[in-house]
Amino acid sequence: MKTFVKTAMLGAALGVGAVLAAPAAYAQDSVYAPNLSYRTGPFAATGIPLMDGQRDYILMLNERDGGVNGVKIDYDECETGYSTEKGVECYEKTKSKAIVTQPWSTGITLQVLPKTNVDKIPILAPGYGFSPMANGKVFQWAYNPPASYWDGASMLLNYVSGGDMASLKGKKIALLHLDHPYGKEPIPLFQAMAEKHGFTFLPVPVGLKEMQNQSAQWLQIRREKPDFVFMWGWGAMNAGALTEAVKTKYPMDQFIGIWWSGHDGDMKTVGEKGKGYKSISWSVPVADAPVMADIKKHVVDAGKSLIGGADDMDTVFYQRGVLISMILVEGIRVAQDHFDTKVVNAEQLRWGLENLKIDDARIAELGMTGMVGPFSTSCSNHTGHSGAWILQWDGGKFAPISDKLTADAEAISALEQVKAMEYAEANAPWPVNEACK
């Protein structure tokens, strides 16, 4: 008899699933902004501070201003564990009422990118995703402001060459990267630049299974003696690479990571020995920014935040999460003003994200002075190319040590054009917005 009950329950559960197809009703005075979060799984340590920052900024707006222009933002998380399969499941689950997709992994981005043209929901992938998404003519529904991976790669080259790319001639640059769509993203740009400026480019892939044991890769680096090592690492790979770099005594000041490789949590495992490690970042943590004070007052002190303590608010990733939500909210605000409506839909938000104007005055108004560089998007430029700073680990925290760097826009946009067209051809018939200059 026990077996009967069990099977019956199983059957009932499945029946419920089939019925649950219809989306639940939601209030009209709010907009639904889901986030495909990953607070579980192998990358949770890097995901949690980002998601917390995103969540807390929106909670703060809802508390302080009652949302944007009186419309509350219904922030919701759908857990993916950084798994592409779960990500697509979340996308399907949220798409009926969502105004935005925040895929949070290059793999999920690549997967949902072709579907957005059909479902008409904008993808917002700040600082990650597919670099050619910057080309708004081809990728009408995808946004990766304020800087793409190719911007990052180009700025890194500008930084190590001191602004004079000719000085790189004959040098050797290694790219230690995760062997995954994310890690492979900058390779086309590095290859193009290596050809143009005459340096040797050496990609050193790290498999997903080797993230914590990179002795083979570092042996190769020691043998090849590159002048610089750039890192496109994520999760456990960052700490693994830093530990190996310390062990092989690779000079820390020649070792620079992309913005996702500059996580305070990773550095704490290396501590003092990681002193001098640098990471490029389009966001800078500013502890005394007015926006952070507001978040502290309305969310953290009120006990509504999920972060461990107020100290965690000064980390690079938490503040970057805040900025990411800011970009989304600004998109909503621009769309509200333009369409003269309160509750924007996905199509209106698409217009909003395309017409962002985040200048210094706006950044100051938002209470974010110094946290991010000014940028604006347009119909043909979905990235904005804001620029970035080099942050250095001083043994306890990351601090900016450079002026704002800018990317080589000419070289990047040429490559973007080529790769975007390649993508459109491979996925033909792909709609291209010819109206856009």
């Binding site: 026990k2 077996t3 419920v16 564990g81 043209n117 491979a426």
Partner: protein
């Protein structure tokens, strides 16, 4: 009462050997088929298609392939994920080299590539057995995933190293690519899975299936009664890898739309193996039951709290989900080590004698 077999007399051998000697089984199958063919497609939403129906069918097919090798022929394999990958990459190459090829043909052909690779890795099975063979198939798993990563020709030198499904039309209907509708993809998958299941049921009932079972139960005895062990094992590897390869092609072309090499890594192999074990080794229906438990149940559990109006943090929900599924798997295996298929068989036996058990 519902399952009364009294009065169903068999008057010839043909009727006695029918696929469904009991009428109620045939009726049940008809009900399931009507559900699958008419009721689900009419009622399902996009989400139900993409998160429940299509993946359950595809995972069932993969588990069916593995079950032929492990459940029927007794050769434990840990390389299923990689063999699925072979099918997927073969189908991708076929479609990109011959864009005018019919997708059904391409998927059918891609199974042969996977069968060839499977047989090559199955060759050592004559000499090594049991856990040692599992290690040999593990080698296939590592080698093939490495190959998918390093051999750039396989993914047409795409910068991200992933394969992306192009838009494909078949007889004027869009079947694959981002603009294909879910209902078309569902019917396509259902057709392929249905055909494969029919084929699998018949092959496991015939002399080949009998030789597999003999090899599984005691290979020395099987050899003594005249079964060619190598031939029998290689056929098992070939047929199993063929089905697994087809499921891999469906996995990428009909469901995922894009795939990176590490998708076909060990976690996928284990997932399929769990489906086969929990569903029931040596059964065809068990694969479907197992896939429902492993693939569909977590998705359903994820939407239950929301439907009930409970506000649970997404990460907590995920943790709860993992715990519930884990507990269910352990419970099923303790209560019925032979899997869900055996579970159903017991229920059926009881139903037949109900309400007057001896």
């Amino acid at each position: 009462m519902l399952y009364r077999i009294a009065g169903q007399f068999k008057t010839n051998y043909r009727a006695d050997h029918a696929l469904f000697p009991v009428r109620q089984d045939a009726v049940l199958l008809a009900v399931i088929l009507i559900c699958a063919l008419v009721v689900f497609p009419l009622t399902a939403s996009e989400f139900t298609f993409q998160a429940l129906l299509i993946p359950v069918l595809i995972y069932s097919l993969a588990a069916l392939g593995l079950n032929i090798l492990t459940g029927y022929a007794g050769q434990l394999s840990l390389g299923t994920g990689a063999f699925m990958g072979v099918g997927a990459y073969a189908c991708y190459k076929l479609i990109t080299i011959f864009p005018e090829m019919n997708l059904l043909v391409a998927i059918g052909l891609s199974g042969f590539f996977s069968a060839a690779v499977g047989m090559a890795f199955g060759l050592p099975s004559l000499r090594i057995k049991g856990f040692y063979l599992a290690i040999a198939t593990l080698a296939a798993q590592f080698f093939l995933v490495w190959l998918f990563e390093k051999w750039a020709w396989l993914y047409n030198y795409n910068a991200s190293g992933a394969i992306q499904v192009p838009t494909i039309d078949m007889f004027g209907i869009r079947v694959a690519g981002p603009t294909a509708s879910s209902i078309v993809q569902y019917y396509f998958v259902l057709l392929v899975v249905g055909l494969m299941t029919f084929f699998a049921i018949n092959i496991t009932r015939g002399h080949i299936g009998r030789s597999w079972k003999a090899v599984r139960d005691m290979d020395i005895a099987a050899e003594l009664v005249g079964i060619n062990l190598l031939r029998s094992k290689l056929i098992a590897f070939g047929v199993s890898s063929y089905i697994v390869g087809v499921s891999g092609a469906l996995f990428v072309f009909m469901w995922r739309g894009a795939a990176e090499p590490n998708l076909f890594d060990i976690p996928l192999s284990f997932r399929v193996l769990f489906i086969a074990i929990i569903g029931g080794l040596g059964s065809v229906m068990g694969n479907y039951l197992g896939a429902i438990l492993i693939v569909a149940l977590p998705v359903v559990l994820n939407i239950v709290p929301e439907a009930l109006g409970l506000d649970i943090n997404a990460a907590t929900l995920e943790h709860l989900n993992i715990m519930i599924i884990g507990a269910l798997i352990v419970t099923v295996l303790i209560v019925e080590p032979h899997g869900l298929a055996r579970f159903w068989a017991i229920i059926r036996e009881k139903l037949i004698i109900w309400p007057f058990p001896h």
